[in-house]
């Protein structure tokens, strides 16, 4: 484990969740507050021991400041609100690492909270502010939401790599296997290949089962210095390294499918070039991977873009059983966002922590010492590698 670009000086020491549901019947602030308090309690801390709050949202959540108040954190040295979606969680952890390194704060809670099913649903509410020209053009064409944008990437990916809908199916089926081992997952029903192909198209090549399940809920982690982490309740999970990359032609917003030249490669191809050098590991050295999966295709893009498999090889890799619980590299052990629910990837970061602490119940990967977490599936994205306390 050479490299260790970040020196392992930052650690995750607490994890908290609310229930995930399709109708929480509660405010986003109460969800956020409960998950944050749960994460702080998990770390064995009192809220007053936390001095920073960071979050990300796309006009669908509550500000860090409100949660600092509601969760009883009180005096605060650090607040950060990123206007970002699924590309944020790993990036936000890196941002918090930077804040700890700069001594802006020493213990920060990161959360994501939303009523993603009963409240403001992605793609179905208009962001505030004047619409960008790119948005108006897309709206006039009926290209309005992520299933449709990413479908265009997926379609070209199938063409360029020789992958087929069987490869999309492989992702969904593999993750449903895991979901059966995860009581938190919103979609736990087993799925057969036949049922996959009976699922109706939403936006070709995506069927309903290729799309993430929107949920109401919240998830939080507590991040502190490695030094402080040693005296806390749970075994620390260290940040070994990470990267954020926005490719070369990011366009005007996350839905911009005009400027990006190569739809068959997303941000993960760019993240991969930085990540492994930074961490000092090779792609298959990690023991478990939680790969951002707003749609099934995102897992194929990440496996290939990060160099875990060769181009065009992700489907075969999954079908070989390599990503299953007893395989070479278990992937999306919580069932992914496809099954556990769409907390915009915050829950994939939390799942990696549970895995490295050996707290993932029946889906715990035996002996896992390092975990890869990715965030994002379009032009920009991020990834981190986490490790058990050595």
């Amino acid at each position: 484990m050479s490299g260790a670009g970040l020196g392992g000086g930052t650690a995750i020491v607490g994890v908290g969740y609310t229930d995930f549901s399709t109708n929480s019947g509660r405010s986003v602030l109460s969800l956020a507050s409960d998950a944050v308090r749960a994460a702080i309690a998990d770390a064995g801390l009192e809220p007053s021991a936390v001095n920073g709050v960071a979050t990300y949202a796309v006009g669908d959540s509550v500000p860090a400041q409100a949660v600092a108040h509601s969760a009883g954190i009180g005096e605060t040295d650090y607040l950060l609100d990123l206007y970002m979606g699924g590309q944020a969680p790993a990036y936000l952890l890196l941002q918090v690492h930077a804040a700890l390194s700069a001594r802006l704060a020493d213990t920060v809670v990161i959360f994501r909270a939303l009523n993603g099913r009963s409240g403001l649903r992605v793609g179905r509410h208009k962001p505030s502010g004047p619409p960008a020209p790119a948005v108006e053009t897309r709206t006039a064409l009926g290209l309005e939401a992520y299933p449709q944008y990413i479908a265009m990437w997926a379609q070209r990916f199938l063409h360029d790599t020789g992958a087929t809908e069987e490869d999309l199916a492989a992702v969904v089926l593999a993750q449903r296997e895991y979901a059966q081992l995860n009581e938190r997952a919103i979609e736990r029903r087993p799925l057969t290949r036949e049922q996959y192909f009976e699922s109706p198209y939403i936006s070709t090549p995506f069927r309903a089962v290729d799309c993430t399940r929107e949920v109401d809920g919240a998830c939080a982690i507590v991040v502190t210095t490695a030094e402080r982490a040693r005296s806390l309740r749970k075994p620390p999970v260290r940040l070994l390294g990470g990267a954020y990359a926005a490719g070369g032609s990011v366009g005007m917003d996350m839905g911009d499918v005009v400027s990006w030249r190569d739809y068959s490669r997303n941000c993960m191809s760019h993240v991969g070039r930085k990540l492994w050098n930074d961490v000092g590991l090779r792609p298959r050295d990690v023991d478990v991977a939680e790969l951002y999966d707003c749609f099934s295709s995102s897992v194929l893009f990440a496996l290939e873009g990060l160099g875990i498999t060769e181009r065009g090889g992700a489907g075969d890799f999954i079908r070989s059983g390599a990503t299953s619980l007893t395989g070479e590299l278990p992937v999306n052990t919580h069932g992914g966002l496809l099954s556990e629910g769409y907390l915009h990837g915050m829950n994939s970061l939390a799942e990696a922590v549970l895995q490295l602490r050996g707290e993932a119940g029946a889906r715990t990967v035996a002996g896992a010492e390092t975990a890869l977490v990715t965030s994002g599936a379009l032009m920009d994205g991020s990834a981190v590698v986490l490790g058990k306390e050595g």
Binding site: L141, G142, A145, A151, P200, Y201, S203
Partner: protein, 109 residues
Amino acid sequence: MAEISIRRCHDCGNATRADDERCPRCGGETRTAGTEGEGVVYSWTTVHRSLGDSVDTPYTVLSVDLRAGVRVLGRLCAESADDRLAAGAPVVSCAHSREDRLEFALESS
């Protein structure tokens, strides 16, 4: 075939998107320019379930690489048989194509 509006940089001549007011290459002012509505399909999706205001499903949105070197989005013309729809398929803009909603037809072979 209808002409399509893109923009060109007044300073360096770079062809840009229709919504680039400044040239991303040199920062120069861009001006509307017409170009031939010929290109090839880069990618597409057929929307079966709309999430927003559109109810006339299914419909197909194309990502088209124009000969001018610019990528644009447009609808696949409803009258255009889509059994030849594929990456690389040649398309031309339809007569009823509008500036705010381009439409393309697959070129007859």
